[in-house]
């Protein structure tokens, strides 16, 4: 298992730091420019959700490998309010904040694998992965 790198999310500046970390890691794994942009954008959406809804949390990025394929895994974790209705939150255009309601569904479309574990009052963990072609 390769070592992971983490960014703490406390302000909107940290969103930029998290997505730069994801982009740099994606680049070092060998992802092309377009996938780097997809990964950085997905992390930007997820980190912003942490900042908007939970206030603080973390984004952890690491390289993964399965059946000889290299990929990137991003874990976004917070101890915020949790998501009451995940199906609703995954719908395009649904938002409870000043956002556009694209954060979760948009990030899911940009990545290959996407899972949410959330509990109201406990927090949210989102794990997403993208594999190199």
């Amino acid at each position: 298992m390769t070592p992971s790198k983490a960014a703490v999310i406390r302000s909107d500046l940290d969103i930029v730091i998290a997505r730069t970390l994801a982009r740099d890691t994606a680049k070092s794994i060998g992802f092309g420019a377009i996938d780097q942009a997809r990964i950085a954008t997905a992390v930007s959406e997820l980190a912003r959700n942490i900042f908007l809804y939970a206030g603080t949390g973390s984004v952890t990025v690491r390289e993964i490998e399965k059946h000889g394929r290299r990929g990137i895994e991003i874990v976004c974790e917070d101890q915020g309010p949790g998501i009451a209705d995940v199906n609703l939150a995954m719908q395009d255009g649904y938002t409870t904040s000043r956002g556009m309601g694209m954060g979760l569904p948009g990030a899911k479309r940009l990545m290959d694998e996407f899972t949410i574990n959330t509990e109201v009052g406990i927090g949210t963990v989102i794990v997403c992965r993208k594999w190199r072609n």
């Binding site: 969103i15 982009r23 942009a37 997809r38 479309r109 940009l110």
Partner: protein, 132 residues
């Protein structure tokens, strides 16, 4: 927290803002306010926002651009986005943000041409009405 100020240049009737750094949310909001203020004080009719150096446009920045275009439109100025990188264009559409109401051009030069052409058309129309 200090936000980064994006320089806004005036060339004739056109304002040009070239965004060279990754914008965080507060800087993006500052940029919107600065730009609208500048449209007002310079009475500019066109704005070019050049994104050549930008490698990530997420939904927040995308919404900011759509808002700027709509607000500038209310003030009588048109906004054209230039220099979108292929990866940014692909990501924006996949994200679900197609910015249908924002004019775009391949690069700054084409953006300026587009604005000058539209300006000429508008002037011709205005002088046309005068002769009626």
């Amino acid at each position: 927290m200090n936000s980064i100020r994006i320089p806004i240049l005036k060339v004739g009737n056109v304002l040009i803002a070239s965004i060279q750094v990754a914008l965080h949310d507060a800087s993006a909001v500052q940029f919107k306010d600065d730009l609208l203020e500048k449209i007002h004080t310079t009475k500019s009719r066109a704005v070019i926002i050049d994104l050549t150096a930008i490698d990530v446009v997420d939904s927040f920045i995308g919404r900011m651009i759509a808002d700027i275009a709509a607000m500038a439109g209310l003030m009588g100025a048109r906004v054209v986005l230039t220099g979108l990188q292929p990866a940014v264009a692909i990501t924006l559409v996949e994200l679900g943000l197609e910015l249908p109401n924002v004019l775009t051009a391949l690069n700054l030069e084409k953006g300026l041409e587009l604005m000058q052409k539209q300006d000429q058309l508008a002037e011709e129309e205005e002088s046309g009405y005068d002769t009626l």
